[in-house]
């Protein structure tokens, strides 16, 4: 069950040029309203996965991690919405956001069929993979492509938070073994 979500997300991101090597070539295609929408969507999708975990898990480490994800991604998204309002920018839906959502919805349906330790393992491993992919996309493509300095700052802070989640998720995976 390893990396259930990763292939879908990776394919999604790769298909829209989310690789370090193509970052510059594709950077011009993404606008700030689109970047904001992608980052916001990535947060919403992780909150949905966490809420599923909170319904299903009995493992205290997984539960704590999922609670952290809901709390932190809600905080980051609230900050993002406040900033966008201040900047008078409306997030713009786009193909990357749509594919991210579609891929995550499908994978969440797969996770929903698992139970107990199998669910915990798949969820935690997917959280590592998901954060790795999103962090890579933020670092290599989204942040370098962002024009507005305040949005760039917020995404950079978000990246540090999500890198923390990546490490935390790795610890949860290690403790499940």
């Amino acid at each position: 069950m390893r990396n259930v979500v990763l292939p879908a997300i990776a394919v999604t991101l790769l298909s829209f040029g989310f690789t370090a090597s193509s970052a510059h070539a594709d950077a011009a295609k993404l606008t700030d309203p689109q970047i904001a929408h992608i980052a916001y969507t990535a947060g919403v999708l992780d909150i949905k996965a966490a809420k599923l975990a909170l319904k299903k898990t009995k493992n205290p480490d997984v539960k704590t991690f999922a609670q952290d994800m809901v709390r932190d991604h809600t905080s980051v998204n609230d900050q993002a919405l406040a900033l966008l309002k201040k900047l008078n920018v409306t997030p713009e839906d786009n193909d990357t956001s749509k594919s991210l959502t579609k891929g995550a919805d499908q994978e969440r349906a797969k996770l929903a069929k698992l139970k107990g330790a199998a669910f915990d393992k798949a969820y935690a491993e997917n959280e590592v993979a998901y954060h790795k992919t999103v962090d890579g996309a933020l670092e290599n493509t989204l942040i370098p492509s962002t024009s507005n300095a305040e949005l760039k700052d917020l995404l950079s802070t978000g990246l540090k938070i999500f890198q923390g989640h990546e490490k935390h998720a790795e610890e949860v995976v290690a403790n499940l073994k």
């Binding site: 932190d72 905080s75 923390g164 490490k167």
Partner: protein, 109 residues
């Protein structure tokens, strides 16, 4: 001349011992650390036993200051504070358990 001289030495030593005993210990200080942009700032501090370390969270997400040796686990709510009194000497490393990429060190002397 011998006895008074001995008395003088004893008296002198007593004064030294009393002075040492009466010397007030260095006043306990409060060392302030901020969490800023998802980092403990400063990341490394020196302190003395009896000092208080106080963390202020300037970030928009909650943090913790969690000692690696399990001695303390301090909640740092958004824009909140938390503190601990350092009880023993030695180097203590700590992390934020929500964001373990945040690390800090206190050298307690």
């Amino acid at each position: 001349m011998h006895k008074p001289f001995l008395k003088l030495i004893v008296l002198g030593m007593s004064v030294i011992i009393l002075a040492a005993a009466a010397k007030p210990a260095a006043a306990a200080e409060t060392i302030r650390i901020e969490t800023k942009s998802i980092a403990f700032t400063p990341a490394k501090v020196s302190a003395h036993v009896g000092d208080t370390v106080e963390w202020t969270n300037d970030d928009f997400v909650a943090h913790t200051a969690t000692a690696s040796n399990g001695d303390w686990n301090i909640a740092l709510p958004v824009h909140g504070k938390g503190s601990t009194v350092l009880k023993k000497a030695g180097k203590i490393t700590y992390i934020c358990k929500f964001h373990p990429n945040m690390t800090g060190e206190i050298d307690v002397r």
